[in-house]
């Protein structure tokens, strides 16, 4: 707690000196409100400033409509394109101010909206800005799948903790895919503004920052969270938001400090309790962090034998020596655990060679430990012509979880797109050595159940120790 106070005091001191330049006693210092508190985003025109808008998808999707409106003289009109529109498959954009606003006196972004047909806004929220070309999504909030009707209706997006938004530029953002058979539609938004409502109640949220963790000295970003609010209309609405809204504290700053939004930095071996709360909403949680201290990283690298396995005979997923697949995610925990995993990964380098390092590999949701998947669903990989799977593994000797009869699964969608009906599974009969790179070269015939090979989408690692490095993941013949 002391470190937090100190941090804010220093910030306050700097701001006050810069803003007013007068002397005040240290204990009188408060964060001065120096940003405008204007709540309006769009009333009868954009109430923002110069260059207030960035469009995504079909970039012409936004216009101002002077015929259709909820009140006043104009509304915001958004044309969601049909799937396959050559100018873009979706309507997206962000509205922002060039100078931040102090929104700490408001509790929600509200607006009136209607659509040309009953349809769904895929994502809508605030806290995303690109003022002066600088993207900032520190305090991003998202409501997913907001259903609009053909009559003007009021919608609400609660602010998880208003006290955090003392300098916010991101006023409104949206991303809408055509849903109904890929058919586009039009929707209108009016009276878009922040309000101080006493009629939003009963937030609930998953415990945060999450599960207890065994970690090493490093920076840890707490993942996005979700909370459910009861709206003035009596319905429950769930929104997701960044962990920057949490007010964090560490009981043992000698082990971990918490002076960045949504992050904690583990600085030494030991244990500490990280507590997190949403100020003003009476939500809190905690996780026990046990640090092993500094990591033990590989000091050497392995490189593939490109003479024996020239690029023409290789389909590479991750290697500095080949052209790699397009990897969507190195840790798509959402596939497996419903958010229960705390796995972290980083790309590291030794002697000029990159490798992937996984820490805290465990699947707390399934309670069986140690699972990660490398996913490349967007561009599946065809390994029909390949005969062998290769991967180099470095197991850290101090890895807290020792389960070590690795299972590797290859998952293919060639027979059922979107379903994993072809899963080839290989279980090692021996444990992996620790402290050095171990090359695995496994014939595809050893992956039992692998019937399709033309649309490989996931490589799943299971029952590995909880701290590993992997490199040179490729198939060859």
């Amino acid at each position: 707690m002391k470190s937090i106070k100190l941090y804010y005091s220093i910030t306050a001191l700097i701001i006050v000196i810069m803003a007013v330049g007068c002397e005040r006693k240290l204990d009188e210092l408060q964060l001065a409100t120096k940003y405008p508190t204007n709540p309006d985003v769009f009333i009868d025109g954009l109430n923002l400033g110069p260059n207030p808008y960035n469009a995504w998808g079909k970039v012409t999707n936004f216009s101002i409509d002077y015929v259709e409106k909820y009140s006043g003289t104009a509304s915001m009109k958004f044309d969601v394109p049909n799937l396959g529109d050559p100018l873009g498959n979706a309507a997206g954009g962000a509205f922002f101010t060039p100078v931040g606003r102090d929104l700490s006196g408001y509790t929600a972004l509200t607006f009136w909206a209607k659509a040309s047909e009953v349809d769904t806004l895929t994502k809508v929220g605030f806290g995303s800005s690109a003022a002066n070309g600088v993207t900032d999504e520190t305090y991003k909030v998202t409501v997913n799948n907001l259903v609009l009707t053909t009559t003007w209706t009021k919608y609400y997006i609660p602010i998880p903790d208003p006290s955090k938004l003392t300098n916010e530029k991101g006023m409104f953002w949206y991303w809408v895919d055509p849903r109904n058979g890929g058919k586009g539609f039009t929707y209108w938004i009016d009276e878009l503004k922040f309000e101080n409502l006493g009629t939003i109640a009963y937030p609930s949220s998953a415990v945060f920052p999450g599960k207890d963790m065994n970690v090493e000295t490093d920076d840890y970003q707490i993942p996005d969270l979700s909370a459910t609010f009861n709206l003035p209309t009596g319905i429950n609405q769930t929104e997701t938001f960044t962990s920057a809204y949490l007010t964090l504290a560490s009981t043992n700053p000698g082990v971990a400090t918490v002076n960045k939004p949504g992050k904690f930095t583990v600085v030494n071996a030991g244990s500490t309790l990280i507590t997190a709360k949403l100020v003003g909403n009476n939500l809190q949680g905690a996780a026990l962090i046990t640090s092993l201290g500094a990591p033990t990283l590989p000091t050497t690298a392995l490189t593939p034998d490109t003479t024996t396995y020239p690029p023409a005979n290789v389909k590479s997923i991750y290697s500095d020596s080949y052209t790699n697949a397009t990897i969507d995610s190195y840790e798509p925990f959402w596939i497996w655990s419903g958010g229960g995993m705390t796995t972290a990964y980083s790309i590291k380098s030794v002697v000029g060679n990159n490798y992937i390092r996984y820490t805290n590999l465990n699947d707390t949701y399934n309670q069986k430990g140690i699972l990660v998947a490398i996913s490349f669903e967007t561009v599946p990989v065809d390994i029909s012509a390949m005969t062998t799977f290769h991967m180099d593994v470095f197991v850290q000797a101090t890895s807290p979880h020792k389960e070590n009869k690795p299972i590797i699964r290859l998952e293919d969608w060639s027979q059922n797109y979107g379903g994993t009906n072809s899963i080839g599974s290989y279980t090692s009969s021996t444990e992996l050595a620790t402290g050095s790179w171990v090359p695995l070269d496994i014939p595809l015939s050893s992956f039992t159940g692998l019937s399709g090979k033309s649309h490989l989408v996931h490589i799943v690692l299971e029952n590995f120790p909880s701290i590993i490095c992997v490199d040179n993941i490729y198939f060859h013949k």
Partner: protein
């Protein structure tokens, strides 16, 4: 004039004089300097339930009976009323808790919505006086909590001839609005005489509020937190039907209905289960 303030429940009181002047604080007047002028009335407590029993106790059977079952209750309501302490019991903190079950969402609707409805029929009935209850409402779309009175002659002459006085009912989709209504012959269901009272930027379920009527010959005055927001007299039903509130006693009901004609159907976004907390119900007679 006597300005004795209404005391809270820790001080049992035998008589009170209602404010002659009450500050209009919430709605209907932006000028907070204005005052509301009310006729001076003196009341004497004649019946009450303070709900001070231990946690889990069923409502006092000498005062309350249960309405049981489902079938829509004339309004296409979804709930089934039980006499289980799970649906109506004291909470051990001085309140009666009327609770819905946690129903099950099946495909597109909720199943197994249980709740409770209690009444004082045959146990306490009175014409005229002040009827008040201190209530923290449930919330959420589809919720329809109520504190209301029915004419004790309902079984002989039927509804709406018996009369119905709704002291408080709330549509859970409008968290800051309650309604006070009057049903009688020629003015019932959607044609009832009604008026709403809204909190400025706050929800009824966030705290306790005192809902009351003061009822005498040819008038019924409706109050929220001792602010008069509606007076209904025979003039209001002129041309519609008879005034049936001058000649027979009424009994008290408390319930949470779910769904039905008055509210929207509960959706998947409705927060279940829900609880209505009733701190007390008190009934007074006017003394001249």
């Amino acid at each position: 004039m006597n300005f004795t303030k209404i005391k809270n429940k820790s001080d049992k009181l035998v008589s009170v004089a209602i404010y002659a002047f009450i500050l209009v604080s919430l709605i209907g007047c932006n000028d907070t300097g204005n005052v509301q002028q009310l006729p001076q009335r003196k009341y004497q407590l004649v019946w009450s339930d303070e709900f001070d029993s231990v946690a889990g106790a069923s409502p006092d059977a000498t005062k309350w009976s249960f309405d049981l079952g489902g079938g829509g209750w004339g309004n296409n309501e979804y709930e089934v009323y039980t006499n289980s302490p799970a649906n109506a019991s004291t909470d051990g903190n001085g309140n009666l808790a009327i609770k819905t079950s946690l129903p099950k969402w099946v495909t597109d609707h909720w199943e197994n919505i249980y709740s409770a409805r209690i009444n004082t029929k045959g146990k306490f009935e009175q014409a005229y006086g002040r009827f008040e209850a201190r209530i923290k409402t449930p919330y959420g779309s589809g919720m329809w909590p109520a504190f209301w009175l029915l004419g004790a002659n309902k079984d002989t002459i039927g509804w709406p001839q018996c009369g119905e006085i709704d002291i408080m009912e709330l549509n859970g989709s409008k968290s800051s609005i309650i309604n006070g209504s009057l049903h009688g012959p020629g003015y019932s269901h959607g044609a009832a005489i009604t008026k709403s009272f809204a909190l400025a930027n706050a929800r009824y379920n966030a705290d306790f509020h005192v809902f009351a009527i003061e009822w005498g010959k040819d008038y019924i005055d409706y109050f929220v937190d001792n602010v008069l927001y509606q007076e209904i007299t025979p003039t209001n039903v002129l041309g519609k039907g008879d005034w049936v509130f001058n000649d027979h006693p009424f009994y008290i009901l408390l319930n949470i209905a779910v769904g039905g004609d008055y509210v929207t159907s509960p959706t998947q976004q409705t927060p279940f289960p829900q609880t209505m907390l009733v701190d007390y119900v008190r009934v007074y007679k006017e003394v001249k």
